[in-house]
Symmetry: C2
Subunit: 257 residues, 2 copies
Amino acid sequence: MLKILKLGGSIITDKSRLATARLDQISRIAHEIAGSEDLVVVHGAGSFGHIHARQFGLPESFSVEGLLRTHLSVSDLNRTVVEALHDAGVDALPVHPLSSVVLRDGRIHLMSTEVIREMLRRSVVPVLHGDVAMDVSRGAGIVSGDQLVSYLARTLGAGMVAMGTDVDGVMIDGRVLSCVTPESIHSIESHLLPAKGIDVTGGMRGKLRELVELAEIGIDSRIFNAGVAGNVRRALSGEILGTLITGREHGDGPQEA
Amino acid sequence: MLKILKLGGSIITDKSRLATARLDQISRIAHEIAGSEDLVVVHGAGSFGHIHARQFGLPESFSVEGLLRTHLSVSDLNRTVVEALHDAGVDALPVHPLSSVVLRDGRIHLMSTEVIREMLRRSVVPVLHGDVAMDVSRGAGIVSGDQLVSYLARTLGAGMVAMGTDVDGVMIDGRVLSCVTPESIHSIESHLLPAKGIDVTGGMRGKLRELVELAEIGIDSRIFNAGVAGNVRRALSGEILGTLITGREHGDGPQEA
């Protein structure tokens, strides 16, 4: 069963400081991942991407310098994550969205997943990340880790999607929701707090939209707190944590549009 | 007209020393490239790839550590080239083969070129490099810059292929051949000297095989000395330099197999 693990930028970086990785968190999480099979890891860009992107006016404006600076910065973070996984005994290899994704109006339009499939066949963990990418309609844009998770879960047919964030799940009035469904999403959205620090990819609201779309086609996901030691391991072994995003609560499968 | 420029590893690195870039050569060449349009740059790995690859037994053996070390090293070189191009005023972005190519028996089996096409449409120079890649038959292998040039020239329909090396062209008995054809290649091969330093991708012989295949489908190429100041600019502006590899000398177009 294919598992997709998202590591939020807020967990693996200090979002208040430019390009600052949380090496202790990354190393701890890498060790919690060790031993998992059939796994794709997608991490956010955190302070390696958002500050550069904001500085160069992305995603609204098209500047090759902005694309390059943002990409090289998130590539540095990706290298740190891949090296930590390697040090923890995980056979991981990087896959860069700028090299493999084309957007249309900010959404993934084309993405060759053959490299990822071949890595999985060879028991390698592909490690993707939020990145900049070319866009056929806008020149270029940002492809968030959340959007990559959603696309890969759909395209590769994931059996588990675990979204590690810095909160215990979807919070409303200080309470963690146990479940979000396509039906309940609209009443929840207006209660969500904005993301802490700079986030050019939509924060919890953007994340929920991606995951509700997945739920609508029958792929459930969990938003959990990856900042709590042991939680990544628990999530990967299927323990119930955080908020479940599902379309199945009502027992009627995917909803018609 | 699409131009593809190869920068040999022997020009942009010191092949006798691990991971040593020739920054002066890279900067000079970047300035010679400035102003060219509709261009793809592919560079070799030189001492950033071959020594790692040899150390880990690539391409014969499959070790994720070997793939990672080789890839990260050639990615460093790629960043140096892209940064130099940027400093020279060229809007360049990296494209990593490990993220976008799948091999079969050491040859490119699948490669999504949509990212490259979109960069070209937006006047961005994609910068690829010799790299490791997953291989459906062997687990993983090496994709040489020469093979990338050949594949991209064919797939994108290049109007010019310029192969910058550290020699004046195809040399036999100290003389530069003005022309190599599919008919003359067999008599030439046995006279070629082996590459200087470590080269896991076939040296001049491997290069000529790629280019003769191109010539057979009507795409001519030139092997020239990129170590001579001004030659990259001359080659990109269409001047006659070095050795022409062509299938058209006999006026009968592509040969039947």
